[in-house]
Structure formats: structure tokens, C-alpha cells
């Protein structure tokens, strides 16, 4: 207990950027120009109901997205044009996945699961800033939208349903 309190005290003192609630990403930082494995953690359903679908919007600058299939879930992607072209391993990319949907599954409220995709973070993404992946969680007829992005200067904690995000680090 004492150890725990120590940790807690340290945490409070440091005031880290921990995200406590909601659907979150396991790895919360990544350098630009690198490959990022996104693990979306779904800790609960919508107001007690089982999760039946999860949809993720891929932000601009996240390219070459490859979602990981999940047994029991139908995986679909929506492709579209990027706002600009990106160079990746000598290739020029102008279109790609803009949305990833896992649907048709059933994740009861009392269970936890993870949804995974892999992507490249474009080298010209602004290091030091946050990059958000808005998520829509569907539970039959109920929907939770983890899509709120804090306005400039706004505390992320003030948001009721924040979008999961990562902090972009400088290129290694």
C-alpha cells in the first residue's frame, strides 16, 4: 500500500499525461516518419451494452494503414484520397485507408478487448503535437462517439468523450 501511495504521490507530483478513461491507444507516443502499431483498447460497452462495432477514422498523414483481422468480427476499410501525396519507400501514395471498421462482433460490457492496426506516420507530421484517431463505438442501437478533440488551450479532461490520440515525437 505504501509503495502504491508513493507511486500515486509521484504521479500526482509529476502530473503526467495519463489518459484515464474511455477508448485509448496503448502506445501514446510515436516518432514521425516511423511505423506505428495502434492498439485500441476498449474497456467497456456503451452505457452497459455490448460493443458490436468499432470504427476508426484515420487522420491525414497516417498512411499505409493495415488493420489486423479479428476472429468474430468483419473487417472493412474505407479508402479515399489523401489531401496530398506521400513518399514511402520510394513509392508515391495519394490514396489509402481513411477509415477502419470492425463490425458484427459482440464484446460484452464486462469484457475487455483490443483492436489493432499498423500504419506509417508521415515524416512531415508536426512533431510535438497530438494526433487524434476519432473512434465510433457502436453497441446495437446505442452509440458512443469518442471523437472529441480538445480546442487550443482546452484541457483534455474537460471532454466527456475524448478521441484517443498519440503525441508525435521528433523523427529518430
Amino acid at each position: 500500500m505504501k509503495k502504491y501511495l508513493l507511486a500515486a504521490g509521484a504521479l500526482l507530483a509529476l502530473g503526467t499525461n495519463a489518459a484515464f478513461a474511455h477508448i485509448t491507444l496503448e502506445t501514446q507516443e510515436a516518432p514521425v516518419g516511423s511505423t506505428y502499431k495502434a492498439v485500441l483498447r476498449v474497456p467497456h460497452g456503451c452505457e452497459g451494452k455490448a460493443t458490436t462495432a468499432l470504427r476508426v477514422q484515420i487522420p491525414e498523414g497516417v498512411i499505409s494503414v493495415k488493420p489486423m483481422p479479428k476472429p468474430g468480427w468483419t473487417l472493412q476499410t474505407k479508402k479515399g484520397k489523401y489531401e496530398k501525396s506521400y513518399q514511402l519507400y520510394g513509392e508515391t501514395l495519394t490514396t489509402g485507408v481513411k477509415e477502419v471498421d470492425w463490425s458484427g462482433g459482440n464484446l460484452p460490457d464486462e469484457f475487455y478487448d483490443e483492436f489493432v492496426f499498423r500504419a506509417s506516420l508521415a515524416a512531415d507530421l508536426p512533431a510535438g503535437q497530438m494526433l487524434y484517431f476519432p473512434v465510433v463505438q457502436e453497441c446495437g442501437d446505442a452509440t458512443d462517439r469518442w471523437i472529441e478533440i480538445p480546442a487550443a488551450g482546452q484541457d483534455e479532461d474537460a471532454l466527456e468523450t475524448p478521441a484517443p490520440g498519440i503525441k508525435l515525437l521528433p523523427k529518430k
Binding site: K3, A8, L14, T16, V136, D157
Partner: protein
């Protein structure tokens, strides 16, 4: 971040320990005590940094309530219950009564995910708000409100508004003097010009009445400006007060009234050739001045009400104006007064008929329902006026049918009685003017009904979106909200969903959320909304622009009491 933090459960602590042992093995060694201490601290800090972000807690969501949101109960419940999607601990539980007072709810029990709250008192009828704020497992405080009514949803309590009695008295007195000037002065000048044989009797009285009117007219205008601004009497001379007054319709009453008073003076003192003409024009002006402003003239249909007010005003001026010169003539020169009395009594019947008919029609338009005669201040003043009128008509009828003939014949005793009776009539007429001046402060039932139905509207404009929101009627109680949404640059915004969120932090009312529906006319609506209290509310619109984009805009809105 810190405010969100809450002591985790035992399960959470043990899972942390497991992960710590797996990922950060610290070799226990008695020699390295200091290393161990600082190392442990470092380890735990690291653990905290690594693990806590990974702890995915949830916000508690309200799943069910008893009474249900929006329920209408026959009697006061003995307890309330709130069921959440996960265990919570209550922070603040408040019951807001229909009159806006707050009752803290301190007695509650937690039974799993259900919070049972004792109701400490028998609730009176009306709409109550059960406002809750709890802390959920993730340490996030969440709040909301449940509305329910006992008996029926209540209209809002009437908020007492401070009345500036000095100003009111001044407005009333100025109005009374203006009426005296217009009706007794101008009417008196008309009677002297057209009915009297010898015009000297009553001339001074009429002149004084006209002078009172000439002073009272501009003073009334200034007071109107003060009232419009809600400013005290001390600011009477400030330009803004007069500027405000000049923007009201009352300025026309004052202007036309001043012209009428001037014409009446001209008829008194001017060349004999102009006497009758200017007196007639002045009487016409009285009707026009009264028709230019006021409750009755503002009523619909205007093509009917304005001419009726005109006729009513001109008829009063004719009747009331003639009384003083006639009474004075009877006292001073009974012989000369006989002609005056004969002319007056010939003309008075049709005039009173016009007066009564126009008054009755106007009263019906203004009062609408007979019950309003008793229930509203306007109605009660009307009843008082009717009682005075009944007395006046009785006196007038006695004068006309029993006293006039012998008085005209020259019976001095009867002439004296008639004179006294005319004196009493004068006093009643003044009392009626006083009552009519009191209407200045009592909106008629017609206007009250219109005012109560008026919506309140606000415009919210942000870069991302803008909205026109109206709440109809704009007072507390059962209302409907209508929202028109556009993009920040006035373009169409086809939102996927809109949620109306109302909160009133100063009354301890946590957000009341209602999803809006789309009736198909381009607006979003929330029907069956109950706003439990008047005052300043914070309204927020959560606009789902696309699946992944939500825009939240908010602004304060003032909800009236009635």
C-alpha cells in the same frame, strides 16, 4: 489530470504489482538499502507513468431512474433511485423545488450500481429537478438532472420584481394631469365654444386644466423614458432618458396632445371667428392623441381599436369637459346657464351611447375571458372603473331626467341640487381618470397572453457552426425548442444528430440532455421539454457534423418567469 485521479480498487493495485514484477525485477539485497529505497521510488514512478495511462476506466452512465425522467407522479415519492452503468460515489445530490429553492439530499444508500436516495419531505405539486453529481470509477465527476412532476408540470414561480414606487406615482400623477388637461381642458374649451351662451363662466377652470396638461405632457414623456430604461427619477434630465422616450409611441400622444391643448387655448383666447373651428380641431386632437398609444390602441385588430379609442376619448372629453363650465354657469348665472344646459342635455345621449359602446368593445378585446376580470390587475381596475361609471351614470341619469327640466325652467332650488350633483360627477370623473391612468402599469389580459407565448431566441455563432435557437414559450414550464443550424459561414449544415443540453449551475441544476428530432422542415426540435426554473440558463448544442466530428456551441439564455 490530477482531479480525475482516484484511489484504484484492490484489483487494480494487485494487477499493477504483477506487472511490475514481470517488467521491472528489482533484486532485493540488504547491502543496497539506499539503492533499494530510491530505486523503489523510481520504479514506482516509472510504473505509474507506464501503467496508469494504460488503466482504462470508464465514465459512469445513468442507466435508469426512479422516478423516470419527465414522469408525472400522483403523489410525492418516499425515495428516489439512480442506477448507473457501474458503481459510483455521490458528490452532490440536490432536489430543486418548483419555486427554485434547493433541498440537499444527504441520506442515501449505495446498493451495487444503484443509488437509493431518501426523500426527506412531502413534495408539493409542480416540477422538481433531481440534480445529481457523482464520481465514477475513473475519478471523473459526471452530473445530470432528472425532471419529474408531482400532479402536473408546473408553471414557473413568479419572480418578484422591484417596483420603483416614486417613479410609478410620478408617472401616474403626470398621466392623470395629462388626462385632466386633454379631457377637462380641451373638452371644456369645446363646451364653451359650442354649448355655452356666456363663455366667461368656467373659462378660468378650463384654462388652468389646459395649462396642467401643457406641463404634464412633456413630463409624462420624460417619465416614459425613465420607465423604459428602468432608471430612477433622479435621472429625469439625462439625454438618454429623453432619447428613449422619443423612440416610444407615446411621443405621438404627447405631440398630438400638445397641439390639441394649444388649439383649445386658441379657442379660449383667440379671435372669435376661429373659436368653434379650433375647439373642434382640439377635440379631434384629443381622440387622436389617445389613439396614438396605449394598450387599447395597440390591440388587434388595429382598424377597429384605434377608431374606437378615438371615439371613446372624444366622447369623454365632450361629456367630462362640459361638466365644470356647466356647473359653474349654473352657480354664477343661472339664467344664462339654461341655454347651456338645454344644449348639453340634447347632445349628451348619443355621446354617452358612443362612449359606452366603444368602451364595451374595447374591454371585450382587452380582457378576452371574464375570469381575467378578477384574476388580473387590469381586470380589477376595469371592474373598479365600471363601478365608478355605474355611479356616474346613475347620477347623470337623475340629473338628465329629473333635474334638468325644472332647472331649465328656472327652479333655483333644483339648479343648486343639479350644481352639487355636477360637482360630485366631476369628482367621480377624476377618479375614473385616476383608474384609467393606473392601467399604465397593468398589461391587459390580451397582452399578458401574447407576452407569455413569446419565444426566447438566441443566436450562437462560432467559427465551426452557428445556430438560431428559440424556446417557445420563452418562460419556465413546458416548452418546445427549435434549432436552425448553419455552418460558421452561413452555409447549410446537414448534421447527423443534435443534442440540446441545458444547465443552470447557479441553481445547482446539472445538464439536462435532450436529443433533437428532425421534423423535415430544416429545423431540429425538442418537444416535451420542461424548463423547471426561470432565470439564466446555459444552453449547449452538441452538433454531430459527421460520424467522427462533433461541434459543441454554447450560450446563455434568459428564461422568463411568466
Amino acid at each position: 489530470m490530477i482531479s480525475c485521479w482516484r484511489a484504484p480498487s484492490g484489483r487494480a493495485a494487485s494487477s499493477r504489482k504483477d506487472r511490475m514484477n514481470a517488467s521491472f525485477p528489482v533484486r532485493l539485497n540488504g547491502v543496497h538499502i539506499r539503492f533499494l529505497t530510491s530505486g523503489l521510488l523510481a520504479a514506482f514512478v516509472l510504473m505509474a507513468l507506464l501503467i496508469l495511462p494504460g488503466r482504462a476506466f470508464a465514465h459512469a452512465a445513468l442507466v435508469a431512474t426512479d422516478p423516470a425522467d419527465g414522469a408525472v407522479l400522483a403523489q410525492s415519492p418516499s425515495q428516489f433511485s439512480l442506477t448507473f452503468s457501474e458503481p459510483v460515489s455521490p458528490l452532490v445530490l440536490t432536489l430543486v423545488r418548483p419555486d427554485g429553492t434547493q433541498l440537499p439530499l444527504n441520506s442515501y444508500r449505495l446498493d451495487g450500481q444503484t443509488l437509493a436516495i431518501d426523500n426527506p419531505e412531502a413534495l408539493k405539486s409542480g416540477t422538481h429537478v433531481l440534480s445529481w453529481r457523482v464520481i465514477s470509477e475513473d475519478g471523473h465527476p459526471v452530473g445530470g438532472s432528472v425532471l419529474f412532476s408531482i400532479g402536473a408540470p408546473s408553471a414557473a414561480p413568479v419572480a418578484g420584481e422591484a417596483v420603483d414606487w416614486t417613479l410609478r406615482t410620478a408617472i401616474w400623477a403626470a398621466k392623470l394631469l395629462l388626462y385632466a388637461g386633454l379631457l377637462l381642458g380641451v373638452g371644456g374649451a369645446f363646451a364653451l365654444a359650442w354649448l355655452a351662451k356666456d363663455r366667461r363662466c368656467g373659462q378660468r377652470f378650463v384654462a388652468v386644466a389646459l395649462l396642467f396638461g401643457l406641463v404634464a405632457a412633456p413630463v409624462s414623456l420624460g417619465l416614459q423614458g425613465l420607465d423604459g430604461l428602468g432608471a430612477p427619477l433622479a435621472r429625469f434630465a439625462t439625454p438618454v432618458v429623453w432619447k428613449t422616450a422619443l423612440e416610444t409611441s407615446f411621443v405621438w400622444t404627447v405631440l398630438i396632445g400638445l397641439i390639441a391643448l394649444g388649439l383649445a387655448l386658441l379657442s379660449l383666447a383667440g379671435p372669435p371667428g376661429l373659436r368653434k373651428l379650433s375647439a373642434s380641431a382640439a377635440l379631434f386632437g384629443v381622440g387622436a392623441a389617445l389613439a396614438a398609444s396605449g394598450h387599447a390602441s395597440a390591440a388587434e385588430p388595429q382598424w377597429l381599436t384605434r377608431p374606437l379609442v378615438f371615439l371613446h376619448g372624444a366622447a369623454i372629453a365632450f361629456w367630462a369637459g362640459a361638466l365644470a363650465p356647466l356647473g359653474l354657469a349654473l352657480r354664477k348665472q343661472p339664467a344664462e346657464a339654461r341655454t347651456f344646459l338645454a344644449r348639453f342635455s340634447r347632445a349628451i345621449l348619443p355621446v354617452v351611447a358612443v362612449l359606452a359602446a366603444s368602451g364595451i368593445v374595447l374591454a371585450i378585446i382587452q380582457v378576452q375571458a371574464p375570469a381575467a376580470l378578477v384574476h388580473t390587475a387590469y381586470g380589477r381596475l376595469l371592474l373598479l372603473k365600471l363601478a365608478l361609471l355605474l355611479f356616474l351614470f346613475t347620477l347623470a341619469a337623475v340629473n338628465r331626467w329629473t333635474l334638468t327640466a325644472p332647472a331649465e325652467a328656472g327652479d333655483t332650488e333644483v339648479q343648486r341640487r343639479l350644481m352639487r350633483s355636477i360637482g360630485i360627477e366631476m369628482l367621480i370623473v377624476l377618479a375614473i381618470f385616476g383608474v384609467a391612468a393606473g392601467w399604465r402599469f397593468t398589461p391587459p389580459p390580451r397582452a399578458l397572453a401574447i407576452a407569455a407565448a413569446q419565444p426566447v431566441s438566441i443566436h450562437i455563432h462560432t467559427l465551426q457552426a452557428m445556430a438560431d435557437l428559440s424556446i417557445t414559450p420563452g418562460h419556465a414550464g413546458e416548452v418546445a425548442a427549435s434549432v436552425m443550424i448553419m455552418t460558421g459561414d452561413f452555409g447549410p449544415l446537414d448534421a447527423k444528430a443534435v443534442t440540446l443540453v441545458l444547465s443552470k449551475p447557479d441553481s445547482g441544476i446539472e445538464p439536462i440532455k435532450r436529443p433533437a428530432t428532425k421534423p423535415g422542415d430544416g429545423t431540429w426540435r425538442v418537444d416535451n421539454l420542461v424548463i423547471p426554473l426561470p432565470g439564466r440558463w446555459n444552453v449547449r448544442l452538441d452538433i454531430l457534423v459527421s460520424d467522427f466530428e462533433m461541434v459543441k456551441i454554447e450560450a446563455p439564455i434568459d428564461i422568463r418567469a411568466e
